[in-house]
């Protein structure tokens, strides 16, 4: 049974179809990459999957449950979370503060207890801080955990945004262009992190432009063009697909990174 199954997914804005009649699925444990020219609808797809947009038609089934039309926070609670292309983080807080907020959805403490500072409230807070520390170590930011997010390098910010997503204990992690704005060396570190994420059992879906990364770590690749799915297969299959090559105008075969 697929972890995520998308059928007939369509999103129209006025007369324009950003995403049209998409069908695909992600199996548990695999890494699926989504590629395509700019404006092909990749980020729109993520927005649809995570509830930020409501589909015009189609269904999204996650973990055997129909999540079409649910609000974003509910979808996250069910185990699917995303990062943002613009690397959203809480700029004014420290790295630790950031990830603690990521843990907030996992603590069930009512208003009264929060205010009164009951032992259970304090325990929950302590647990959140501990778990946050673990996650920060996992992504390799423990030496910067008290640094204000504002001052981090772009690569550290990407790690932080991934840490935030991991804090929600997802089953499926959607990464929107995690390698944008980082150099080759840093990209290696990122690939290694994604590998470790997969090893602890989290499935990953990636939007990326950097072909070196996509080709080397993906189990399967989907190619979007003008909102439609024009190819779905292993990296070799996709690399040799005529429609794909046409869509990129021969560009991507030559693209190095």
């Amino acid at each position: 049974m697929a972890l995520l199954k998308v059928s007939g997914l369509t999103k129209r804005f006025g007369g324009l179809a950003a995403v049209e009649d998409l069908d695909f699925s992600i199996q548990g444990g695999e890494l699926l990459s989504i590629i395509g020219p700019n404006g092909a609808g990749k980020t729109t797809l993520f927005n649809l999957l995570t509830g930020f947009y409501r589909p015009t038609s189609g269904r999204i089934i996650f973990n055997n449950a129909d999540i079409t039309g649910l609000k974003p926070y509910r979808i996250t609670r069910r185990g699917m979370v995303r990062t943002f292309q613009m690397t959203h983080i809480f700029q004014n807080g420290t790295v630790l503060d950031n990830v603690i907020i990521g843990r907030a959805s996992h603590s069930r403490i009512g208003l009264l207890e929060s205010i009164l500072g009951t032992p259970s409230a304090r325990r929950e807070k302590k647990k959140a801080i501990e778990k946050a520390r673990e996650i920060i170590s996992f992504v390799g930011l423990e030496d910067q955990k008290d640094k204000t997010a504002h001052y981090l390098t772009e690569e550290a910010r990407k790690r932080l945004s991934i840490a935030l997503a991991l804090a929600t204990e997802p089953k499926l992690l959607l990464l929107d262009e995690p390698a944008a704005g980082i150099n080759l060396e840093e990209m290696g570190g990122l690939m290694e992190l994604i590998d470790r994420i997969r090893k602890i059992g989290i499935s990953v879906c990636l939007i990326e432009h950097r072909m070196r990364m996509v080709m080397s770590i993906s189990d399967r690749i989907i190619v979007l063009n003008y909102g439609r799915n024009i190819a779905d297969g292993t990296p070799e299959e996709v690399a040799n697909n005529e429609d794909v090559i046409k869509a990129y105008l021969g560009g991507y075969r030559a693209a190095q990174c």
């Binding site: 804005f13 006025g14 980020t43 927005n47 930020f52 947009y53 409501r54 943002f84 613009m86």
Partner: protein, 247 residues
Amino acid sequence: MVGAYFGFYMVMSLAMNYWLALILATVALGFIGLLLFRFVFYPMRDAPEVNLFVAAMALLMILEGAALYFFGTETKWFVVPFSRKVLTFGDLSLPVQRVIVILGTLVVMTFLQLFIKKTSIGATLEATAQQREGAMLCGIKVSRVSALAFMIGTGLAGIAGVLIGPAVLLEPTMGMGPLLVAFSAIVFGGMGNIPGAILGAFILGLVESLASGYISATYSLTFVFGIMILMLLFRPKGLLGKETWRP
């Protein structure tokens, strides 16, 4: 409000011709808009959005405070040569001032539409509104364009004030009512699109007048507000609202 008081002062205290006062008020208000832009809103352009609204609020306080101080709390009556005149069509009597307001609005809206659609400056305005960075890349001086947009905004408000002034009583908080109705209209009709705003304005304006006449004049504003709240509860997008862009 400022426009109305400005016109009032010109006509009543300086005995100026009404139409001249109208033109002068518009220019003066446009100028005030420019000053505001230059000294308040442009320096704050990088601040969090919320701060800009607080600045607008501070501005409201300053303007109303100034009006309060210089003109006092008693309502003023803006008297103009044709204030008392009324046009009659059989059973229907229309105060001349109101006709002027309607005609004036139509004239201004037409001019505005022509300006935006037909002139190159208008096109520049639209372009900048839609895609700021793209406009910058084309060599458009965004700050100048924004300043212009601001001035047009305040200038229009000034015209509205001077037009409506003789038809109603002047008092420092007179801007609130129209603001509220306008806002309710936008929410009701659907945010993010002009047809929605016009439809909303039309419907709610009608509601307000009918409520004023048949139910109660004092609560007419409450009625309008209440309807807007109902719309929010059941269909936050409004009547013609389009989906808002998120992340």
